[in-house]
Symmetry: C2
Subunit: 270 residues, 2 copies
């Protein structure tokens, strides 16, 4: 099924804009559990609370071949009606980008992926032709280093705004979105203003400290949707003990419900 539709249906069914980042940091996994066992419990405990899951490939690749197998296994554990975003941040020249698209869409079968914009249009095009898939271009990221290049001023506007405008221009298949960190709500609001109808993938709530009410207010569209709000560590590692899955469910539910409360707040009716 098309990513956009799958996302819309999961969002409605679970009444949720919450995405859980499946980033199994090996230093924080409960003792004795494999990556796939850990993910299985988290997925079973939370799949009625999320609009999407987002595994970041780095956490799997760090474990070598076994890690790649764990990722494939994890993908098989996610209910097919919940979209999965492969957080890969790939970006390479045209003929190579085709290979990454094949890996992410044909081999792993992700419904959507994240991509780096630095190499420009021909690094994105081989992904765009998969018109049923979603593509989220890094725009303004949540980390301190985002300032180094993304905030540089080009013709009176920060570089990330140029990325947002290019995404609008390139969006012939209607399958582009943007990654915008939750840690800088002013930037988030500005990007939402520039791209009123584009899906935004918003990491950085939870451990990274994004201000949830402001993020929901600034990141959602006029109907209070079209935003995928991601939390990874705060949910996965809510407890370091054997009750990690219950704790993950508890924090996921609180996060989902808080997001919904702010979606419904009076300012939405203005």
């Amino acid at each position: 099924m098309e990513f956009t539709r799958k996302l819309r249906e999961a969002t409605a069914r679970n009444n949720s804009l919450l995405c859980i980042g499946l980033d199994p940091d090996p230093e924080r996994l409960p003792a004795g559990l494999t990556i796939a066992q850990f993910n299985r419990e988290v997925i079973e405990a939370t799949n009625d609370l999320v609009c999407a899951y987002k595994p970041n490939l780095a956490f799997y690749e760090a474990a070598g071949l076994e890690g790649v197998k764990s990722l494939e296994h994890t993908l098989s554990l996610i209910p097919p009606n919940i979209p999965v975003i492969g957080d890969a941040k790939r970006g390479d020249i045209g003929n190579t980008a085709r290979m990454y698209a094949r890996s992410l869409f044909d081999v792993f079968g992700f419904d959507a992926v994240t991509l780096s914009p630095y190499l420009g249009l021909d690094s994105i095009e081989p992904f765009m032709v998969y018109s049923t898939k979603g593509l989220f271009l890094l725009c303004r990221t949540s980390n301190p280093g985002a300032r180094d290049f993304q905030d540089l001023e080009v013709e009176g506007h920060p570089l990330y705004e140029h990325v947002a405008l290019k995404a609008l221009e390139w969006n012939a298949h209607g399958n582009l979105g943007l990654v915008v960190g939750a840690t800088h709500v002013r930037e988030l609001a500005r990007i939402r203003h520039l791209c009123p109808d584009m899906p935004l993938l918003i990491p950085g709530v939870g451990t990274q400290g994004g201000d949830l009410p402001e993020v929901v207010k600034s990141g959602t569209d006029r109907a209070g949707g079209n935003a995928i709000i991601n939390s990874s560590r705060a949910i996965l590692f809510a407890s370091a003990g054997p009750d990690f899955a219950e704790a993950a469910r508890r924090v996921a539910m609180i996060t989902r419900d808080s997001i919904n409360r702010y979606r419904e707040a009076p300012h939405r009716s203005e």
Copy 2:
């Protein structure tokens, strides 16, 4: 052994600035050969002609688990005194970048990698602490889309120059280099001017059409070195027949020797 020293020794031993990109495009592999069999023959035919090999991970990931195994197998076939650059173009926030560094350096054991700069310093730092490894930041790439963002003017200079200057500033361990495409020699010359002592990884000669004499003149340092000039398809697929390895050797030798001729041209003594 440290990347810089390994590179210097291979460059001297093989009298070569040529790097071969081991990018086994599945559509172009000779019939009946696996990726590793193909790479084995290319490596056996060319390892006295190169200063480095550079596998691009996309071509392996596109073949799934088997592809990742092929990459590990390929790495075991490269003589240990020839440095291997993992062309990964990764770039992610700090705690995730640590995982990519672990994958590329500890799991695969690359001597050097390519990285995307878009996320800034904290996406590079987890790699920099591997002080014996080489890191090549994407600066001005060889593809048409490089224009979209890399050439945007920031304070009177294109974005890629800011990347080059940041690399100079960040280079506390002396292990940073830059990726600069061969297809735009003016930009290459400008970056060499800004970074007279930094190693440059220069893809884009061969199929992509970079002008070799100009590339060697503009990309090498005052001593005619410190440049890694990469060719992939023009060498790997020099022949589509069973003589592909001989053909690869022939083109590799011509390319290496041409580079050396231009290194020694009179303009170097100015």
